[in-house]
């Protein structure tokens, strides 16, 4: 991944997402060690404090945990957690867009629900 300064997401969020992707791809194993903030800083050419903030987000979301003196490790069950979170975010974002568009087109609620059911049947 390239850390981009133009992207709308702050760099530390991009770092957190990159680590999540590594966990999803199982390049980082559950209960395995995560990159340190200094390794991340070197890897992505960013300030170590910024990398540290990325790790802190994962810590707060229980994706990783800290072992005193040893560094950060991937929480068991982290992969499921990330998947659930992303499904949630992505689907609710799409749902919002559908509702907005339906409103613009004067589509009634029942009509919209019928449309979703139809899409499901056609899958």
């Amino acid at each position: 991944m390239n850390i981009s300064n133009d992207s709308t997401a702050p760099i530390y969020i991009q770092i957190a997402e990159w680590i999540e992707n590594e966990i999803l791809a199982e390049r980082l194993q559950e209960a395995g060690k995560v990159y340190s903030q200094y390794q991340l800083a070197e890897l992505f050419n960013i300030n170590p404090a910024t990398a540290g903030k990325g790790l802190t987000i994962l810590l707060e979301n229980d994706i990783v945990y800290k072992k005193r003196g040893l560094g950060m490790f991937v929480q068991v069950g982290a992969k499921e957690l990330i998947l659930a979170k992303r499904r949630d975010e992505k689907l609710s974002k799409l749902a919002k867009e559908i509702v907005q568009e339906a409103k613009r087109l004067f589509v009634q609620d029942e009509e919209l629900i019928e449309l979703i059911k139809k899409a499901q049947r056609e899958e």
């Binding site: 709308t8 530390y12 050419n45 910024t50």
Partner: protein
């Protein structure tokens, strides 16, 4: 008590005020970006910190000492700038040796390695280097001193694109290997943003803001859409920027955004990059240069 403390610093050059009651405090190892327009007072402030100039009024403490005529400060602080000069009768190899005698943490091998990488021969003389090479040498010299306070005033001036990228990486790697206070001044924030932990923005000789990088990039929001809707959302607050063409666009402080606005509206809310924040906070008019042409 910080490692660098400035209290109501004034610096006048004849009738011109370069610094105007500047106060700040910096503590702990970090990389700070010193940002400001031309003539904002960046170089003057760095020279005062280094003890190269005396303030007209106010107080500076570096590790608790006045930097002017202080040997302790001189051996623990280095200011790298365009106008640096070295004894003309010493070649680069001899300059490095001399530095080793003065700076106790001097990294001779690192300096030689980086100079070799940058194709600067050790038997050359500083005043015979090209502009870009001289800047490269100065920066390498500054990093190799491993001074607890390293001040870099526009360190990349004259360097080509390739060496700039390498030198930014060198700064980062040296910082990771040996954390210290590094202050880099630049008017190209976008170019150094990834290296920074904090931003200090100076304008008209005063500190406009001194905050962690993330706080700066989340300070302002841009709102774009239909005029009345936008005005309602911003509650007719002070705007830092406004533009009216196909759509209406304003930039306001994030905390002034009315959070109860209609989330279904087509009005766009975007974040504003740190670079743009700094530019807006030091702008003279709300529409930028367009205002000059429209009036």
């Amino acid at each position: 008590m910080g490692d660098i403390v400035c209290n109501l610093l004034d610096k006048n050059y004849r009738n011109k005020k370069a610094l105007n009651k500047l106060s700040c405090s910096i503590e702990g190892e970090k990389i700070i970006g010193l940002i400001g327009r031309n003539g904002a007072g960046k170089s003057t402030w760095l020279k005062l910190l280094a003890g190269h100039l005396k303030p007209t009024d106010g107080e500076i403490r570096i590790f608790g000492e006045n930097p002017f005529n202080s040997l302790k400060v001189a051996s623990n602080l280095i200011l790298i700038e365009d106008t640096m000069t070295f004894p003309p009768f010493l070649n680069i190899r001899e300059l490095l040796k001399m530095a080793g005698d003065f700076y106790q943490n001097w990294q001779g091998e690192l300096a030689e390695g980086l100079l070799k990488y940058a194709d600067i021969p050790l038997n050359n003389y500083h005043h015979k280097l090209s502009k870009g090479q001289a800047s490269t040498f100065n920066l390498i010299y500054g990093l190799a001193t491993r001074c607890a306070i390293t001040l870099l005033d526009e360190p990349m001036n004259g360097m080509d694109e390739g060496i700039r990228t390498d030198m930014y990486r060198a700064i980062l790697k040296e910082y990771i290997a040996n954390p210290r206070i590094i202050i880099i001044s630049s008017h190209h924030l976008a170019e150094i943003e990834h290296l920074l932990e904090e931003i200090m923005l100076i304008d008209h000789g005063e500190v406009v803001l001194h905050l962690p990088l993330e706080a700066v990039s989340q300070m302002l929001v841009r709102i774009k859409g239909e005029v009345n809707e936008v005005k309602e959302m911003t509650g007719y607050q002070d705007v830092l920027y406004e533009k009216q063409d196909v759509s209406y666009e304003v930039i306001i402080e994030r905390n002034k955004l009315d959070e109860t606005y209609d989330k279904q509206s087509k009005t766009l809310i975007q974040s504003v990059s740190a670079t743009e924040v700094c530019k807006l906070l030091t702008n003279k008019s709300k529409g930028g240069i367009d205002d000059v042409f429209n009036s």
